[in-house]
Symmetry: D2
Subunit: 288 residues, 4 copies
């Protein structure tokens, strides 16, 4: 029984350089378990734009070249989430030999996830555990418990190694550290960005969320090392090796931006039921 | 008129853990300008193996799971190189809007190429130059001139930032720094590994070489920031974002290895001519 | 003819842990060329405190142990600055063999000034210059010109290597980079903190300033790589290897602080003259 | 009852640049508990040299300026070690307010010991322990158990943060990590170099050893985080904030060196007894 979410993202910029290029990653991903019922895009300037779907990651990239002046991009969609779910204790890690080719990039170290440096550390902490979902969960819990959430404690340079050492960060830092530790014990892991339905209102206005997908058995499972959100309510926008790959906006040119304005609501689904995301004891996946 | 190269790679390992997995990147890439005439693979253990060709990078990955004991992998091939060549002064940079989707990953920072940190530096040095092949060449020359080649001056942790600061390294470090500086001024760049025909014999036995491909106009052009090799003689094995993606062997398990043994020779091509790679004033490309 | 400056520093804290220790470095240093005419210290809590003068650096450290609650520390002083001045072109670098023992610590790398990593870089840029004041000035100018002043572009972790690479920072970052480059070409250099009379009012309220002292010939000369201030108006509080040594306050315990309130004015000196610091073509020193 | 040790250090260099300066730290320190009975220095070139004793650290620095050609420096001494010893469970940490001024530099972060970055980490692991010798011992044991000794796993760039993350190193790396963790929980700690009598012969030829001194109660106590050596047999040469301060040789000029040749033996002491260092359950100190 699917969760139906209605959400919108509004981005506002002031473009100084005529001909500034933008690559946005704000379209809801289309996966076997995340279905876009309807969507609408509104761009304040009369611009040609293209929507490129990456054949491997399925990220949908909006590309455009803006004129000088104000630029407002508004995207809204209704999406059905129908996560695959499984019993955690029946999910083992995938043997290296069984990793599909498309999974391989997520075992290597990346900009923010220097798994190569953390091998001894990860093996010391997690090397002896049973090789299955519960090991990924143990890594997730370890990160949740060791790292303190603190706004503005990190910046665009902060890596998994920094977060391991300094033990403070925001959701992207929690994600990077979990990813690096997973890869360091040979579990493929990737960075996911999305909108998080279910965040407690006292955490402030709805924002983009960063979380983790881990490849186990034969698919990518969702984990939330930040510990504050509800995976059943994660609406996926993009995946990548880490935040370097999955920014909601990559901008080429002199541009000023203001904070995104995001709304998300659960609404009645095709069966006429309002299903609100909750914490469940299942392993969830939006992928194949 | 093509260059025909005959080469072989021999790798020897002692495997301690039964069931150690290997991912090799030792097969010659097949590109519009690099044609594999014939090839042979010999593995000393009687193992199943698979050859996976990545649909995006065209890297050909040999995957196998070895038994304990000695493992010898021998690959030999004859390859015709018929580089696309162009006049450097007629090659401009590609507009952001014209980058194909498959090029996008090579504009982002990666494990060893933190282009995000080098933006001001790169703009200070190269921001004012004409935006074309000559700017990539200027970055290449700058790296060649600023960095000193020194064996063992770097390790698996060394990044472009380290090389910029410490100014010493081996071919992979030269490549990482050039890639990071290119990306920092919005030129897509990637890491390539290959065998280098034409290295002066006094540099020691033939080894894997690391160099750079830069996306200009509508294709990937070859650059050699190490400054010691002859691009016309580069036989490509793999490309990636940086060395994290393009190791010649990724090993999962307790395995000891010895130095690779590599041979390469120019032989008579299909027209019966022996064409030896030389330095040419053209821009060369093995890609589409 | 001396410059007479009158200044005050007010620091306000809320102490949560009873028995929080503070080490302040807010007293004007007493040097052969900086004379404290009068000074007054006022502490809002009735506390014992000690004033420790380091025999090597001459830093004057105020140490106290505060009770829970509000703590206000107010220090005011009148100081005569009578810089030693010399002709830059007559100042050569000191031979290694002539460095006094007390100078040695300032040739080694330190927390924020990893001169060991910058040797090749510094020699490439500055190794060929005449070894004297003008070489230190060249390093100072290079830093001024290459690094952009940007508030909040750095944090307590930012080192000289980061500033070299990222080319942005605040006065302490300019100082760290100049120090690291000097040490890398074997010129002893140290970090100085003070109050800067003469900062343009449009730069905001008076704040602590960080600058550099370089050991040349037989004494420490003042340099301002930030480029915005007037060395003749630098009232010295403390020196150290880098910012790790010379914080205006080191706090042990749970304490919240607000921004320091600092005033500084030039007043009539003992001869009844008001001498206002100006840019001069001399090399200035407050030390022996 | 004192341990009497007889030791020698031979250093051999080939000096290319005439007028290369050397600063050696190879003389046995003179402390209240380490007494130099006799010593002899032999320098192969007929050079003036000076011996500078730092008034704060008591390090004895040999300074000379060598001619081009071969340089051999040989130092031999007989030293009585009569460590102060105390019951570990009676040693508490010193209150911040009671730290002597000369102790303050050892609480700040330094080149290789970035204690500022490890505060949360150290408090998480050690913040709850009783504040005394046993806490320093717990940090020492934690480092011994977490880090693996591996020759050549580190280099001159390797810091405490690297060692924490990568969990491998040599004795100086163990020392740096212990120092950083101590300072991060407000325990002053410093780096010591010496000759280690009692190293198992199978560890190879006698070499310089790096260990840690921690300020507790009213003096500096010896710890050996490498875990392989016998503190009662540590003959101290120098102390510093970290290895940047306490190299056995700092060289200015183009000089090639070969491995030091070191001998050490226990001999009969003034009472005619041969006392061989052993592991003891006491806290040992060579300082005041």
């Amino acid at each position: 029984m699917s969760v139906r979410l209605k959400f919108s993202i509004e981005l506002n910029y002031t473009v100084s350089d005529a001909g500034s290029d933008f690559i946005f990653s704000i379209h809801a991903a289309q996966t076997p378990h995340q279905f876009v019922v309807c969507e609408a895009l509104d761009i304040s300037q009369p611009l040609a734009h293209t929507l490129y779907t990456d054949p491997v990651s399925h990220n949908r990239l909006l590309r455009l070249r803006a004129n000088a002046g104000a630029l407002r991009v508004h995207y809204a969609a209704t999406v059905d989430l129908n996560h695959a779910s499984a019993q955690p204790d029946q999910i083992s890690e995938a043997a290296v030999a069984n990793w599909p080719g498309a999974v391989l990039p997520y075992i290597y170290p990346s900009r923010y996830c220097q798994s190569d440096r953390l091998m001894r550390f990860a093996i010391h902490e997690f090397g002896h555990l049973w090789q299955g979902y519960s090991r990924a969960q143990a890594i997730c819990d370890w990160v949740t418990n060791r790292v303190t959430f603190r706004s503005n404690s990190s910046n665009g340079n902060t890596t998994a190694v920094d977060t391991l050492v300094e033990k403070a960060g925001v959701c992207r830092d929690f994600a990077h550290l979990m990813i690096a530790l997973c890869r360091a014990v040979n579990i493929p892991a990737r960075f996911a960005t999305g909108i998080d339905f279910g965040a407690a209102p006292e955490l402030g206005p709805t924002d983009f969320h960063a979380y983790v997908e881990v490849y186990l058995a034969d698919r990518w499972y969702i984990f939330d090392p930040s510990g504050v959100a509800i995976p059943m309510g994660f609406l996926r926008l993009a995946t990548g090796r880490d935040a370097a790959d999955a920014a909601f906006a990559t901008i080429f040119g002199a541009v000023l931006g203001s904070a995104p304005v995001i709304t998300i609501d659960a609404i009645a689904n095709a069966q006429g039921l309002l299903v609100v995301p909750t914490r469940v004891p299942y392993a969830l996946s939006t992928d194949g």
